[in-house]
Symmetry: C2
Subunit: 342 residues, 2 copies
DNA sequence: TCAACTTATTTACGCGCGTAAAGTTTTTAT
DNA sequence: ATAAAAACTTTACGCGCGTAAATAAGTTGA
């Protein structure tokens, strides 16, 4: 390893015995040069570990290899997980992913999109805040940069959307709960994004389809501290005797985890057993749901497929140029995960 | 807003009536130009919203305004939180923070440091994986780039370390538990970093200081899925009757959350009440600990102070050049957070 | 008011690489 | 074997900005 002072491509080209333009071509696409040439470059590469100056590269390429990943709230392990998944896929494809979190703040979301613009990214994977998002700002951004939305949809914005079929999620959970006990009431907070709305409406629809009267319980609270909202709301609902069923279907798992904490505090045993007074279920299969007390019955999002398809859609977009057809929405179905809570 | 086609600093300088070098000076430090000049530039800035090309800027500056933030495992909300905190402080100071997660993988950690190097960052805030880290690689990186370690220390590596006084943490928890009930046994997994070791040793020390015989229970398991390890280990320990005390002090909160799940599954009621058979406590005050069943008694890390001091240390380093004195280790004390579990 | 500073302008070069054009060599196909 | 195609080399320019040096203009204070 003669890792001497190779300062630029010029010098590296010299030591590898290949001309600089060809070396440049190699770094843009190794398969674009003759195998013999490629071998010589890679041989030199092992001796001298040189890497092109990323700033000079990005300055001169009209489109960089950067990919922006924006999530609404990184302290939610769901987004951390899916971001990890997406990151790795991007890296494998030779891109340079950069992760951003809006931390639940719409002003910050706009700021991020602004900075992102100056990164001249080849594409962006954006999970918007949802209701709080500055629609106009997001829309304008999507006009400038090839963007795939995921998790939370904004109608008509971005070149594609990949997410879950929330209506189906709730249909699954409602049917399971109705089949195995009392029809559930629905526990929610003011919706942060369209998914929450779809879940509530899906619940109403599914209940009616099963011949039951829907009962929606909405508790106050805002922001992304869902557990806290579920906990406080849970205490309130329990204390005021507002539960209309012994089965509580929560809009999402984080809310459910807060609700479980409230049940525990009030001495309400949750589960399917005879000594239990309440059944509780959620949606998402959040990473922590299996460690709830009791472990949470839920509908699992397909992390793998969502991230896989999102990245695929973006790559398709990047390669094929824009306007490669109409905006495509891909929704994945969830799977019932039966645990002890319902 | 005449947001026409300002393509570079040349053009922006022209429309603002100031020479390009002076404009350049302004962007490097607005206060370095005469107030009148500054006003004219900022006036033009509002009309034409121009931003210097970040790649060209970074190529020519010997040191960029980039700051790398590296955490071992972003799916842990503790790190997500502290990263958020650090991020914002950096942005406020006019830097450009970029967040990376090693996802529990030491190869990836090295890869990240490698990519980071080519970002020519002004500095890096690194929470290393710990035991799994490639010490040589990290050490070499720290030689090249001003780096402050946080959370997990590597002796002698980096210009400074900021973290928690884990010995004090355990001293606090042990004393509290001894004072209020049976002396605790210590529940741990194979240590991923020095913190875990310090906690175990601190436990032994504190127990002996209080005149009790320490009892360490180590369960098998590796990786960063602590809850899973705590859960499985918990079941095992309970089923085999290995608990030597009715009070269990867990090495950290995530392990404790898994342990609580195991207790719940085995029908062991946890808490301080008369009908409880077990007390459980942890360390860290993890974001989810308050929503455990029961809410977890723990020792709280001071997120704010850790991130504040880490950033301070890094800025000090960046301004003062390297070798501004010896390596400084800053440890913050924890605070007892009494909840229902112990 | 005039010297002594301070700040801005002009001019010019360099950073490291993408990329185009023209010429040369190697490979492929007939 | 030979023409055509493909890949490479040489040469040269441009990207947008940092930065240095020499010069000019503005500011300050007694």
């Amino acid at each position: 390893m003669d890792d001497s002072k190779i300062r630029n491509m010029e010098q590296f080209a010299r030591v590898s015995g290949i001309s600089r333009p060809t070396v440049s071509k190699y770094f843009n696409d190794p398969s674009s040069v003759r195998p013999k040439t490629r071998a010589r470059i890679e041989e030199a590469l092992e001796q001298y570990d040189y890497r092109p100056n990323i700033f000079a590269v990005n300055q001169n390429r009209r489109l960089t290899k950067n990919i922006g990943i924006v999530v609404p709230y990184l302290a939610d392990p769901f987004f951390a997980e899916i971001a990890r998944n997406i990151e790795q896929r991007c890296m494998q494809a030779g891109f340079w992913p950069t992760l951003f979190s809006a931390h639940g703040d719409s002003a910050l979301e706009v700021e991020i999109l602004d900075s992102l613009r100056s990164l001249k990214p080849a594409g962006v994977l954006l999970a918007p805040l949802g209701r709080a998002s500055d629609r106009a700002a997001v829309e304008k951004f999507c006009d400038d940069v090839p963007t795939v939305l995921f998790d939370s949809n904004i109608e008509g914005v971005g070149e594609a959307f990949v997410g879950s079929d929330n209506t189906q999620f709730v249909k699954l959970s409602v049917e399971y709960l109705c089949r195995t006990g009392q029809p559930p009431c629905f526990f929610e907070m003011p919706p942060v994004n369209p998914n929450a709305n779809k879940r509530r409406n899906g619940y109403i629809q599914a209940m009616e389809a099963n011949g039951f009267a829907p009962q929606v319980i909405r508790v106050a609270g805002e922001g992304w501290g869902f557990e806290e909202v579920g906990y406080r709301g849970g205490l309130d609902v329990i204390d005021r005797g507002l539960l209309t069923s012994d089965t509580v279907l929560c809009s999402n798992d984080r809310l459910a985890i807060g609700f479980l904490a409230a049940c525990y505090e009030r001495g309400l045993r949750v589960g399917r057993d005879a000594d239990c007074v309440l059944r509780v279920a959620g949606h998402d299969d959040h990473p922590f749901s299996r460690f709830g007390c009791p472990p949470l019955t839920t509908i699992a999002q397909d992390y793998e497929k969502i991230s896989e398809r999102s990245v695929e859609a973006l790559f398709h977009l990047i390669e094929g140029g824009r306007s490669a057809g109409p905006r495509i929405e891909t929704l994945f179905e969830g799977k019932l995960v039966m645990r002890a809570s319902a």
